[in-house]
């Protein structure tokens, strides 16, 4: 399968890139597809494990999150309660309810940044306004390099980064695993700290993964597909999920095992060492130079005939 697809790309490229020097591309293609190394989580990768079967939907994690991050509560719905309809620039963490139309089945679910191992948002960001901590793998926003282009919102398959739509000098707001809160002395993020049922726990990704697998082994058939969402999904995430209902029901898209940025590997190789653009430029200057000389001779001849000033 993989072989035929690669061949397919190769043939496509061969047949269609007269404009972009086809040869170069098709020979480099299989090599680069392999060369693109798979990203792995950093040694001290931190994360959360959220077990939807334990969540009772009390939303205390939402309040704790607002407090830990000094966020104003989003009371825009009724002017009274903190009731955001979705993650937004007031809200880095939210509890939602999945329920079938007839009410026969339901599950709560939590949404916050997944802290991807190979984040789409960071790959999209022009100057490094979104960064991944080298030690903890936490993805955080650095305003000094953010242009406010909102490409991170396009590139995030989980709909996490939220743009401050109102006001001057807007921010991108997203869960940063309480990195500031913890730097100030807290032991863990607001959400996991207050969770009364331990539906969300905080720790090193590898420990959380072990714990998740232990829970699956301890209760066969309880968890959807006996799978930890985030172990491999979208190239792997540092926030992991367990659920009884299907992951697509609780806002987790079916991404396959490739990360979002890996979709660009075929484009990147066109720019490898800038070799192809530079070669194309040199070739075009050579042709243009030759044709330009001819053209200027032609202009001079014309001028002799008409007496009108030649136009470049």
């Amino acid at each position: 399968m993989a072989m035929t697809r690669r061949e397919a790309f190769k043939n496509l490229a061969k047949g269609s890139l007269p404009l972009l020097a086809a040869g170069c591309v098709s020979t480099a293609l299989p090599e680069v597809a392999h060369a693109e190394e798979e990203k792995v989580a950093p040694q001290g990768a931190l994360g959360l494990l959220y077990d939807a079967t334990k969540c009772v939907g009390c939303k205390s994690c939402m309040v704790a999150c607002s407090q830990a991050n000094d966020l104003k509560p989003d009371t825009r719905t009724d002017g009274l309660h903190q009731a955001p309809p979705a993650l937004n620039y007031f809200t880095k963490n939210i509890i939602k309810l999945y329920r079938t139309a007839d009410g026969s089945d339901h599950s709560y679910f939590k949404q916050q940044c997944m802290h991807c191992i190979d984040p789409g948002c960071m790959n999209a960001c022009m100057f490094g306004g979104l960064r991944k901590d080298e030690e903890t793998g936490v993805v955080w926003w650095f305003g000094g390099k953010c242009v406010g282009c909102r490409y991170c919102e396009i590139a995030c398959p989980f709909h996490i980064p939220a743009f401050q739509w109102d006001g001057f000098n807007p921010k991108i707001v997203k869960c940063e695993l309480c990195r500031d809160h913890i730097a100030k002395g807290a032991k863990q993020p607001g959400c996991s700290e207050v969770c009364p049922t331990n539906a969300v726990i905080y720790g090193k990704r590898e420990d959380l993964l072990k714990e998740a697998k232990r829970r699956i082994a301890a209760a066969p058939g309880k968890y959807f597909e006996g799978k930890v969402y985030g172990e491999h999904d979208g190239g792997g995430t540092q926030v992991l999920y367990l659920s009884r209902v299907g992951f697509d029901k609780i806002g987790l898209p079916n991404l396959g095992e490739n990360s979002i940025p890996s979709g660009l590997k075929y484009s990147h190789m066109l720019y490898k060492w800038m070799a192809l653009p530079v070669a194309l430029y040199a070739g075009m200057v050579a042709f243009a130079g030759k044709n330009f000389k001819q053209h200027t001779h032609h202009l001079v001849d014309d001028q002799k005939k008409t007496g009108l000033r030649p136009q470049l």
Binding site: S16, V147, Y151, Q164
Partner: protein, 416 residues
């Protein structure tokens, strides 16, 4: 039959017209709303954008669509200068002007669209660049293209204006012109490689959209399909401009050059369409062409682009009114194509929709109005639109009557 031999300004028509004031009024309204947007933000009282649909009309239309239409500068330029298609030199100035106006207004619009434009200064510091970001590539290449090669390519008509109208500047202008001639191949090389890079990166942008972009559009070859679409959009735009000049100012047309432009448009459209189908075939998504809810959009695009191209390839396409309609419809199809991956075929989130607000429309159109205003001014003051030598002589006679002392014929070259 007319031959396009040189560019000739539009003469004998007023510059300040009712349309001029209307455009100016629209621009004024747009600029006021832009100021409001800067203070208030992009919230629901200003734009229809939201977190799921974070990109709206301003990016998709003013940047993606208009720079596509403004791709004549490189698409026709490559045919003329690299493949030595001599006939096409006559329309290069129209192509370059439309390109410059599309790119410069597009970049300004981008500055209005983004939330923190003042942080854009990092673009001049390469060590802060995230080389993995397609948007970075666009930011660097597009600004470089618009401010260096494209700007330089647009200077010769201005030099000529100085030479004819301000004799005291003639020396400097001619020196600049001859200096430019020495490096011209290096400039135009840059003027072709940069758009190939950033027009394809516009496609690469949406690769990060993943499976939210419908599978009929989402492909690793999105960059190639985007740059190729830019090519025919550029041809459409230039043909429409010269045909509109015929309509508005009764400028003569050169059927040979138009036939050449049509031939290339048809060729680009055919190969582009074929490539899209081959891509879908190889990705194994053929069934989606008939079953996907977005298939209708795909077929609409294809029909709007392919149908006119077919008409252009037949005898009927030689009639100017048919030719005009064909290019207009083809351009419309191409513009819809450029709307698809970001908006029309972008399934942002269940239940999420986007429709531009009135303010978005007005600001968007007002930036187009800036381009139109400058275009109208430029073609009336500078030698942009193609014409014959005879047309030039008529123009010279008229101008020499109106402005005594001006000399537009009998040019004697300065010895350098």
């Amino acid at each position: 039959m007319t031959r396009w031999e040189r560019s000739v300004p539009v003469y004998g028509v007023p510059v300040i017209t009712r349309g001029f004031w209307a455009l100016l009024a629209l621009i004024a309204v747009g600029l006021v709303l832009t100021a409001v947007r800067e203070v208030v933000g992009l919230g629901s009282n200003i734009s229809g954008m939201s977190d799921p649909f974070a990109w709206g009309l301003w990016k998709t239309f003013n940047v993606m669509v208009l720079t596509g239409l403004g791709s004549g500068g490189f698409a026709i330029g490559i045919a003329a200068w690299i493949f030595n298609n001599k006939k096409l030199h006559s329309v290069m100035r129209v192509a370059l002007l439309t390109s410059f106006l599309a790119y410069s207004t597009g970049l300004c619009m981008l500055g209005v669209d983004v939330g923190r434009p003042w942080n854009f200064y990092w673009v001049v510091m390469p060590w802060t660049w995230n080389l993995h970001s397609p948007l970075l590539e666009i930011a660097v290449c597009m600004s470089l293209y618009a401010t260096v090669p494209l700007l330089l390519e647009n200077l010769p008509p201005l030099f000529e204006y100085l030479i004819y109208e301000f004799p005291q500047w003639r020396g400097i202008a001619e020196a600049c012109e001859s200096a430019m001639k020495k490096v011209y191949p290096f400039i135009i090389g840059l003027a072709y490689i940069l758009p190939i890079m950033h027009q394809s990166s516009l496609g690469a942008l949406m690769i990060l959209g993943g499976n939210r972009v419908n599978t009929l559009w989402q492909t690793p070859f999105l960059p190639l399909i985007y740059v190729w679409a830019a090519a025919f959009l550029g041809y459409n735009c230039v043909v429409l401009c010269v045909l509109l000049a015929k309509l508005a100012w009764k400028r003569d047309v050169d059927p040979d050059v138009l036939a050449e432009l049509n031939k290339l448009t048809v060729w680009i459209v055919y190969s582009w369409t074929a490539f899209r189908f081959v891509d879908i075939l190889f990705r194994g998504k053929i069934a989606h062409l008939f079953t996907d809810p977005y298939a209708l959009l795909f077929w609409t695009e294809t029909a709007l682009i392919l149908g006119p191209a077919y008409i252009l390839s037949t005898e009927k396409g030689k009639k100017l009114s048919t030719m005009f309609m064909a290019h207009a419809v083809c351009a419309l199809g191409g513009m819809i194509y450029r709307f698809s991956p970001t908006t029309l075929a972008f399934h942002a989130k269940d239940g999420a929709t986007y429709f531009p607000s009135a303010i978005e429309f007005i600001v968007s159109i007002s930036f187009v109005a800036i381009a139109v205003l400058v275009y109208l001014l430029a073609v009336k003051k500078l030698a942009i639109l193609p014409g014959s030598n005879a047309e030039w002589l008529k123009m010279a006679k008229y101008e020499e009557q109106v402005k005594p002392g001006i000399q537009l014929t009998g040019y004697a070259p300065v010895e350098h």
